[in-house]
């Protein structure tokens, strides 16, 4: 107990006035406060400090240069995202030479790239006979790690099942340059 009562009889009145024995009574409130504060601290730090792991799967590398591994994808199924500098994306629908919608620049926000991906995700099965959307992610050398993680995260949020990371082509770098998002 917080208060140790060492009063034995309690009935004697009118005896000698003694100094009241008060040694066993300790107020534990402050101690409990402190303990809970520390608990809260440890609870929060232990669960938050553990880093997250975002799994990435890359296709098998084709080391034989003689085999061209450009997979033919129907034009109306794929959108390509070119990750440029300054946290901007240039995207186009179809093939770059004859795009179904020409390259446009967006950002990584909810209103930017997510809107487009969701829109295309709904549109593609209608025009391609039930087949789903393929997103091709092409990070340029001037994009940063955050951009790649953001876009992979976006794929997870929009629940796009088919996406791949591949190497950017020189003509696509030109697209970034003309749009002014290939800066140091």
């Amino acid at each position: 107990m917080a208060e140790l009562n060492q009063d034995s009889g309690g009935g004697k009145k009118g005896g000698k006035v003694r100094s009241k024995k008060n040694g066993g009574k300790v107020d534990l409130t402050a101690m409990v406060d402190l303990a809970f504060l520390l608990i809260t601290f440890f609870m929060l730090t232990t669960s938050l400090s553990k880093p997250q792991a975002m799994d990435v799967n890359m296709p098998d590398k084709n080391k034989d240069k003689s085999i061209v591994d450009d997979i033919e994808i129907a034009d109306n199924r794929s959108i390509t995202l070119l990750l440029g500098s300054d946290n901007k994306i240039a995207w186009y629908y179809g093939q770059l030479a004859s795009p179904l919608s020409p390259p446009a620049v967006v950002d990584y926000s909810k209103e930017g790239i997510r809107k487009i991906v969701l829109e295309k995700k709904a549109q593609v099965p209608k025009v391609s006979g039930g087949k789903d959307l393929i997103v091709v992610i092409r990070p340029s050398d001037r994009s940063v790690q955050r951009n790649l993680v953001d876009i992979l995260d976006e794929m997870k949020i929009t629940d796009v099942k088919r996406f791949m990371i591949s190497k950017i082509k020189p003509e696509e770098v030109e697209v970034l340059k003309t749009n002014g998002i290939y800066n140091e």
Binding site: A2, A35, A53, L152, I157, K167
Partner: protein, 218 residues
């Protein structure tokens, strides 16, 4: 008849039990909390909504930061030592037993293998970022791409270690292939990342993880 006396309840509450419980919890959290090791190279990772946690064991981490400096570390100390033994044979650089003992305690490092002995001989608090220029990496599979061989030898060592444990420890469950994680700074250019990813792909380590922080809103 006198009035029925309303007994005044004491305002002080017995806190002993509460105190007991809270300290029990406190002890639990203190003991389970893993003390965060001070990192050789602090890295500000990007954030994602992924909830999968990074495993504690059976993992090797490639840290990239500070303008493309690459560090490498194997989580399991035994696998770490075996990796160094493999690398020592591969690059024909001898290490003493003392070196191996010290290397066992090193979480990560970022020097070319020729300078590794020098790094190991330094005091623990002197092995800071400034004396470590990073591990050489390029797009080849030659000896010049040291990261390629570090990862490869670590993977081989982990397979060997897991097989070894199977015979020694009862009820050992093989955790499978070692995972490779890339812990890169959010502002790290993709040019460097590409070299690392290609290095991993060259040895058919097509699956790897990016280490990220947690983002709550999406």
């Amino acid at each position: 008849m006198g009035k029925a006396k309303v007994k005044r309840a004491s305002t002080s509450i017995d806190m002993t039990a509460m105190c007991d419980v809270s300290f029990l919890l406190l002890t639990f959290f203190v003991l389970t909390a893993t003390a965060r090791q001070p990192e050789t190279m602090p890295v500000d990772t990007p954030q994602s909504t992924t909830l999968d946690k990074l495993p504690d064991d059976n993992l090797s981490v490639i840290t990239v930061g500070n303008g493309g400096k690459i560090f490498f570390g194997v989580k399991n100390p035994n696998v770490r030592v075996m990796t160094l033994k493999n690398m020592s044979a591969k690059y024909n650089i001898a290490f003493s037993n003392e070196d191996y003992e010290k290397f066992k305690l090193m979480d990560d490092f970022g020097v070319p293998i020729k300078q590794l002995r020098g790094l190991i001989s330094l005091e623990k608090d002197k092995r800071n970022m400034d004396v470590q220029p990073g591990i050489p990496v390029d797009s080849t599979e030659e000896l010049s791409n040291e990261l390629y061989h570090w990862v490869q030898q670590a993977r081989l060592a982990s397979v060997e270690f897991n097989r070894d444990q199977e015979g020694k420890v009862k009820g050992w469950e093989d955790p499978g292939a070692m995972k490779v994680a890339i812990k890169a700074d959010a502002e790290e250019k993709y040019a460097v990342m590409n070299l690392i990813i290609e290095t991993l792909r060259n040895q058919k380590q097509n699956k790897f993880s990016f280490v990220t922080g947690l983002r709550h809103e999406n």
